[in-house]
């Protein structure tokens, strides 16, 4: 059964609990929303709720139907919302459901709370200690544009605390801006965006300067770089990070984590680690690393398109086999040198398995 109510008195949670418990249900989930006593450092002394009552009830009914579609096992649903003046720390909303099993009960309540906050026409006004007029709030979940005129929504003061008030700012540095709040918000947003862009640009320039620093680096990069390493950390003045490094030069030749030796370990195979490419051919170091990794011997060093095509072909083949491809491919040549240690590890490869089976067969035949 669905119990939907807007009430002007204190919500009795026990009563709601009694409404929803059922012998067939092993789970009751109850969400209780209570009123907070502060907002952005302002002390809230009371809250005022109002609703478009007929429509609110209708929307709450819709929530119930949606819950029952999504979680068909739900037995009872109760949604109670308080209206009128609500003292701080009292219940403003209670959503409770019962279901045979816990997941449906827990998930559906969470869903219902979100839904209520985004679709039921109820409004809350917070009355502050030193500001009797109060402020109409807006839920984050509310799907249409929220107030921008109030300081609360325009700027997150809590994120940028003013720790030290600068005194004696000369008057000449202050500018009075007379615009509407919406315009002011827009300007602040523009300012933030511009600053962000500046920082981004700065990062890119740093990156480029880095390349210019070393004349050799210039030559080893293709024109349109796809570099992903050479990073620079510049500690900013306000930064409280403990990292002291300002610049990090990553060795271009080791851009890839050493998966290979890790895989070798796991596969219990001794495999020669890819040797790093000599510096005079650094231009194509990454491509060469890939080729080596894929066991391709380039027939034409200069024709980069051909080489890429070869790599693509190889990847296509590998994708159609298995991730352990290189061990299977290798095995034909190296199966003779397999050392004893490996077998203890309990790793079997298809070739060796068939060898093993045919060995047993032979034994039986004898």
């Amino acid at each position: 059964m669905d119990h939907i109510k807007l009430i002007r008195n204190k919500i009795d949670i026990n009563h709601i609990h009694q409404l929803i418990i059922d012998q067939s249900c092993g789970a009751c989930s109850v969400f209780v929303g209570t009123t907070r006593d502060h907002f952005e450092g302002k002390k809230v002394i009371s809250l005022e709720y109002e609703a478009y009552e007929s429509m609110a009830l209708k929307e709450m009914g819709k929530i119930c139907s949606e819950l029952r579609i999504r979680w068909p096992t739900l037995k009872h649903i109760a949604i109670y919302h308080r209206l009128g003046s609500v003292p701080v720390a009292e219940e403003s909303v209670v959503i409770a459901v019962s279901a045979p099993h816990r997941p449906a009960a827990l998930e559906s309540v969470s869903f219902a709370v979100d839904k209520l906050k985004s679709s039921v026409p109820i409004w809350k006004k917070e009355i502050y200690e030193n500001d009797q007029i109060g402020e109409w709030k807006a839920n984050m979940e509310c799907p249409w544009p929220q107030f921008t005129e109030t300081s609360s929504n325009a700027f997150e003061y809590s994120l940028c605390k003013i720790e030290r008030q600068v005194e004696n700012i000369s008057e000449s540095k202050l500018v009075q801006i007379r615009v509407s709040d919406i315009e002011l918000t827009r300007r602040i947003k523009c300012f933030l965006k511009r600053k962000r862009d500046e920082i981004n640009l700065h990062n890119i320039i740093d990156f480029k300067q880095q390349l210019r620093d070393s004349p050799r680096a210039e030559s080893m990069l293709p024109k349109d770089s796809c570099a992903r390493t050479q990073s620079i950390l510049v500690k900013q003045q306000q930064s409280i990070s403990h990292i002291k490094v300002h610049r990090a030069f990553e060795d271009r030749r080791q851009t890839r984590p050493d998966y290979s030796s890790q895989l070798n370990k796991l596969m219990a195979t001794k495999h020669k680690h890819c040797e790093l490419v000599k510096s005079n051919v650094l231009k194509n170091a990454r491509l060469q690393n890939i080729e080596e990794y894929m066991r391709i011997t380039p027939d034409d060093e200069d024709n980069i398109y051909n080489r890429i095509k070869n790599i693509e072909n190889r990847i296509l083949i590998l994708e159609s086999t298995s991730p352990e491809y290189k061990y299977y491919i290798k095995l034909g040549k190296e199966s003779n040198n397999i050392n004893k240690k490996e077998s203890k590890k309990g790793l079997y490869q298809s070739d060796r398995l068939s060898e093993f089976i045919s060995g047993i067969k032979r034994q039986y035949e004898l």
């Binding site: 478009y52 209520l116 026409p121 409004w123 809350k124 807006a138 839920n139 249409w144």
Partner: protein, 90 residues
């Protein structure tokens, strides 16, 4: 739909901040019977001093949200239009 007259009288409801700005929770309003939601909203904003929150409002027609301001609304006498500022229940 039959149009007997070129305008209809509807009831407009205001809530929360819009109620405070309009200084009433309920008003009668005369409007053409087929109107775009956006145009109706603009007329209400003009007539009821709602400019300061004009960007934050939506309307509901007979207790249903009109989500698309381009949608045309067919109004009958006595229909209920609610001016709905951002909600904050919960």
């Amino acid at each position: 739909m039959e149009r007997t007259s070129s305008v209809v009288n509807i009831n407009v409801l205001f809530f929360a901040k819009s109620r405070e700005l309009a200084k009433t929770s309920r008003a009668e309003f005369t409007v053409e019977p087929v109107v775009k939601a956006g145009s109706l909203l603009i007329q209400l904003i003009e007539s009821f001093n709602l400019k300061t929150i004009s960007d934050n409002l939506i309307i509901a027609h007979n207790e249903n949200y009109i989500e698309n301001l381009e949608a045309e609304i067919y109004l009958c006498k006595g229909d209920e239009i609610a001016v709905i500022p951002p909600i904050s229940g919960g």
